[in-house]
């Protein structure tokens, strides 16, 4: 059970098939395998404990991922959009390391001692410059394959540990080997440091699918690459799909991507309006919602194309609401919703989502394993399962508002406020309250030219939810703070309320 096995099988089965297309460069699966083994020699020569990557997508990324497996060191892709102190702190945490990066990203940084820098182009050139002995990957299935720093939307980034057996269990459990056709191509727009960026490389390799890389996402380039590279599959985060749809609405034209057959999305909550518009603009395309976490080696639940179509077309509200669900657990994952006392809840009751399965790592370098004695991992996501087994998420457990002992999920209030005709975006957070401990605070963004008073918004919620859900404090912003993957920075919003009340 080593990541390298997926590449060896692909290179054995279809050596001449193109593995990576990036800016005019094409590498076959045989090339990628040779480059990974050569890259491993570069890493071994550096005598380091980690291989860091601080860069956008390029052919160096899949080479580095597999090269680290052959060198027997963890692969650590990092977020190049972090601030200088944040990045320098992460780099100190992986020293001694070899760092593959780019001049633009490196320019503002003072690279800590123990971190040897190699430019992306140089690593790629070296890895493609010779053919090493075809060695096997060292180590055991339990060895760390990848270490990913969490996004840190709630605090200091934690180092999530993913072992070879976790990642390979995910791939073997969800992907049929060599299932991609000769002409299949996936457009990879998620950055390398996101778990979806990693699973895209592993799943595509195992399926034998060509990876087309888009280093810096924008809607127009995404659509153009779909056309020029005859892309058949794509994975996007909700923000990307939202921008693609906005672009098409503004241009007023057709998407014009006849080769595109499937779009998978995940990595955050998809607004209903966005997915409905997307299905209108891409009528022949299969949509799949993938819910997963870094700590679970990516996808644990799927809402497939059939559910999207029936949800889109149905007049039955129970079927229609499925578009807002993350679907059902994949066959290799067990899922439970538990209450505060750890009791397993019945369908329709909201609680914390727990999962179990071989792909579930649930482990941080600093804290160790978070799995309980039976192997269950607390996702810290709140949600519920309906009578048909579909899972509905209600936000992070850490974002729950505890008002006088009552647990309130921001998600249900946000959903209601988003339906208000004047509201274009909203985030609900806990605000300090003398009487209740915490109260409901809402930050709203209005549509262009629209307005609503506090009383109007409070009435709107009161008519639809229990009175404890009515926001006591409402603030207005021109836009909400998001991180680059489309997650609302609730920490920032909470801080603003704290400043006001103190």
């Amino acid at each position: 059970m080593n990541l390298a096995m997926a590449l060896e099988m692909a290179a054995e089965c279809h050596p001449q098939r193109i593995a990576v297309s990036s800016g005019g460069l094409h590498l076959s699966y045989a090339d990628l395998l040779t480059a990974a083994r050569a890259g491993a020699e570069v890493i071994r020569d550096a005598k380091v404990a980690y291989l860091g990557v601080l860069d956008v997508n390029s052919p160096a990324v899949p080479i580095a991922l597999f090269a680290a497996a052959y060198a027997g060191v963890p692969y650590v892709p990092m977020n190049y959009r972090l601030t200088r102190p944040e990045l320098e702190s992460l780099l100190r945490r992986i020293a001694p390391a070899l760092l593959i990066s780019d001049e633009v990203v490196l320019a503002p940084l003072e690279v800590p001692s123990g971190v040897k820098v190699m430019l992306r182009g140089e690593f790629q050139r070296l890895a493609l410059s010779f053919t090493p002995e075809p060695v096997s990957a060292p180590g055991a299935p339990h060895d760390t394959a990848i270490q990913l720093f969490t996004s840190g939307t709630t605090g200091k980034p934690k180092a999530a540990v993913l072992r070879h057996q976790n990642l390979m269990s995910y791939v073997l459990g969800t992907v049929e080997f060599a299932s991609a056709g000769e002409d299949d191509a996936i457009l990879i727009a998620v950055p390398p440091y996101h778990i979806a960026g990693i699973s895209a490389v592993l799943s595509s390799t195992y399926a034998g699918r060509r990876m087309v890389q888009l280093p810096n996402f924008d809607a127009a380039t995404w659509l153009r690459l779909c056309r020029t590279e005859n892309v058949t599959n794509a994975f996007v985060v909700p923000t990307m799909l939202s921008r693609i749809v906005d672009h098409l609405e503004q241009e007023g034209g057709r998407a014009g991507v006849p080769s595109l057959r499937a779009i998978a999305y995940g990595g955050g909550k998809m607004p209903l309006a966005v997915i409905e518009l997307a299905m209108r603009h891409f009528p022949g395309v299969d949509f799949t919602n993938a819910y997963g976490l870094t700590e679970t080696s990516s996808t644990i639940c799927l809402l497939g194309p059939d559910d999207h179509r029936s949800g889109f077309e149905s007049q039955d509200p129970r079927v229609r609401r499925r578009l807002a669900s993350v679907g059902r657990p994949v066959p290799t994952i067990e899922l439970q919703v538990r209450g505060e006392r750890g009791d397993v809840l019945a369908p329709g009751q909201a609680g914390e989502i727990f999962v179990r399965g071989e792909q579930v790592a649930g482990e941080y370098l600093e804290q160790g394993s978070l799995l309980d004695s039976d192997g269950w991992f607390p996702t810290r996501d709140r949600g519920q399962i309906d009578e048909f087994g579909y899972v509905y998420l209600e936000g992070r457990a850490d974002d729950v508002i505890v008002r006088g002992g009552e647990n309130i999920s921001p998600g249900e209030i946000e959903d209601v406020l988003l339906e208000h005709p004047a509201v274009s975006d909203v985030a609900v957070v806990a605000v300090p309250d003398r009487q209740w401990g915490e109260a409901v605070g809402a930050v709203v963004v209005f549509k262009d030219g629209a307005e609503a008073t506090d009383a109007e918004l409070q009435d709107w919620v009161k008519q639809r939810l229990r009175s404890s859900r009515v926001p006591t404090v409402i603030r207005r912003l021109d836009q909400l703070p998001y991180n680059e993957m489309g997650k609302v920075l609730r920490r920032v919003l909470k801080q603003q309320f704290a400043d006001v009340s103190s």
């Binding site: 059970m1 096995m5 060896e8 099988m9 054995e12 089965c13 096997s136 055991a140 299935p141 057996q165 073997l172 969800t174 992907v175 049929e176 080997f177 060599a178 299932s179 996936i186 979806a196 699973s199 895209a200 799943s203 595509s204 399926a207 599959n233 994975f235 499937a262 998978a264 995940g266 299969d286 799949t288 993938a290 990516s298 996808t299 799927l302 497939g304 194309p305 994949v330 066959p331």
Partner: protein, 102 residues
């Protein structure tokens, strides 16, 4: 006969077949390809032939299970022999195709 673990890889001593153990039983088993016991990945090949010529070949990427669904192998390199555990021929596991999610 040997004790296998999930993740253990083995190869046929005769043909090209290679497998990885996905699931197994907590007991020693005889893992064979074409009737010949499979060996460790770093072991030398033995010149010779499969004990039997009947049966199916091993196909890369396919999962092979016994009737009790207790032992499961992934064929990581295709070959010409039939995979078996303790003399019981393994069959190809039928998997339900999932939509591509990444």
């Amino acid at each position: 006969m040997r004790l296998l673990k999930a993740g253990t890889r083995a190869k046929c001593a005769v043909c090209d077949t290679e497998v990885m153990v996905v699931r197994t039983v907590p007991a020693e088993v005889a893992l064979t390809c074409g009737g010949v016991e499979m060996v460790a990945m770093d072991a030398a090949k033995t010149p010779g032939a499969h004990a039997g010529t009947a049966g199916q070949v091993a196909l890369v990427g396919k999962r092979y299970v016994n009737a009790a669904d207790a032992v499961e192998l992934l064929c990581t390199k295709g070959g010409k022999g039939e995979l078996a555990v303790d003399g019981e021929a393994l069959s190809v596991k039928q998997t339900k195709a999932l939509p591509s999610s990444d």
